[in-house]
């Protein structure tokens, strides 16, 4: 593994203009030299105008296509521009930029391909996942033979192997739970690290009931299908 990595911070955004401004300012303050890519997933709230003003790099399409597609495009951009490590966090401000350095360590020392920030790991006694998240976590833990405490975490650090894999094969739609199965199927080394978790700055979760039911159906299907699929493998140069 090369001693130096090029790191891209990737933020998928859908109608989160007010908090996006804070998140970007926060990242700039704590990691001045950070390379930022915002993927605007068809926002209708003026995110597009904000992006021009924020002086970040951005990808954009006119209609909403889901966070999975946004991340896949961002990862492909990263791979093409020669970034080999990607930090992904949410635009709603629930993740703390201070945690990034800690999450990067396992990838830097070559101990993990993927590091997931967990909001509910054992050291966080005060916080409790919702019953659905707990059940999903237990199920995923069983299927991946690894402890999954936060199945829907949106705070990731991806190492070179994971960037190459997911730039081509990241699941569509609501990819977080399915990702666990996919990573396990493709023999990626995954580490969970507990992170700070703040209440979202503005607005509510994009997870409405309909979307939740659809996501649950997809996850249920993925649980049966993904382990049966062949491992896609990563092409190495």
């Amino acid at each position: 593994m090369t001693p130096t990595h090029r790191v891209l911070t990737l933020i998928p955004a859908y109608n989160e203009a007010p908090s996006l401004r804070t998140v970007v300012a926060d990242l700039r303050r704590r990691h001045g030299d950070v390379d930022l890519l915002v993927v605007n997933d068809g926002s209708t709230d003026g995110t597009a105008a904000l992006l021009r003003e924020l002086n970040v790099r951005w990808l954009h399409w006119p209609e909403r296509r889901g966070v999975g597609s946004a991340l896949r495009a961002g990862l492909r951009y990263a791979a093409r521009q020669g970034y080999d490590v990607v930090v992904r966090l949410d635009a709603d401000g629930q993740h703390d930029a201070n945690d990034i350095a800690r999450l990067l360590v396992p990838v830097y020392v070559g101990a993990a391909d993927v590091v997931l920030g967990s909001r509910f790991s054992a050291s966080h006694r005060r916080r409790h996942p919702r019953p659905t998240q707990r059940a999903l976590g237990a199920l995923l833990s069983m299927m991946t033979r690894r402890t999954v405490t936060d199945p829907t975490s949106g705070f990731w650090v991806l190492g070179p192997r994971a960037v190459a894999l997911l730039a081509e094969h990241l699941p569509d739609g609501y990819p977080e739970p399915e990702l666990h199965l996919f990573l396990s199927r493709n023999a990626m080394r995954v580490v969970e690290i507990d992170v700070e978790w703040r209440a979202r700055l503005h607005g509510r979760s994009s997870l409405t009931l309909t979307r939740l039911v659809k996501a649950a159906a997809r996850v249920a299907l993925a649980m049966i299908i993904v382990p049966l699929r062949a491992s896609v493998g990563v092409t190495r140069d």
Binding site: L59, R76, Y77
Partner: protein, 140 residues
């Protein structure tokens, strides 16, 4: 034994075959997707010419009313057709996804190129580096 229904069935099947072929000829239907329909039309023609095939199939299956076998077959064929459309649709979806993503990436790369160009042109101006470099940059 020729009766009216057989003639009508034969005519309809032949018409279907001709329609499919005409659509392919006009490039309204691609060769790739026409195979299923040609197959369907040809087997319908075969069945209208040889009604005894239907009867023996019904006997073999243990169905007392032979036309029910015809309906069963049609339902099966239409289901397969619908499934194959879903497969085609999924493939198109994947291709469109990929295109939109690629397009967005190229848009970003183009923006970055342009801003690099603006910066370098400005620098050249302030450095007093002259016309040829700027012209070359413009051409690019």
């Amino acid at each position: 034994m020729t009766d009216r229904v057989q003639v009508v069935a034969l005519a309809c099947s032949v018409l279907l075959l001709l329609l499919v072929l005409e659509l392919v000829r006009r490039r309204r239907l691609s060769e790739e997707y026409s195979a299923l329909w040609i197959l369907l039309a040809v087997s319908l023609i075969g069945l209208s010419l040889r009604r005894d095939l239907l009867d023996s199939a019904a006997k073999w299956l243990g169905v007392y009313y032979p036309p029910a076998v015809l309906v069963l077959m049609l339902v099966a064929i239409i289901s397969v057709a619908a499934l194959s459309f879903s497969v085609i649709l999924s493939r198109h979806q994947r291709q469109i996804d990929r295109l939109i993503e690629e397009n967005a990436i190229m848009g970003a790369e183009l923006r970055e190129l342009r801003s690099d160009l603006t910066i370098s042109t400005k620098n050249e101006r302030s450095d007093g580096i002259e016309e040829p470099a700027r012209a070359a940059a413009r051409e690019r």
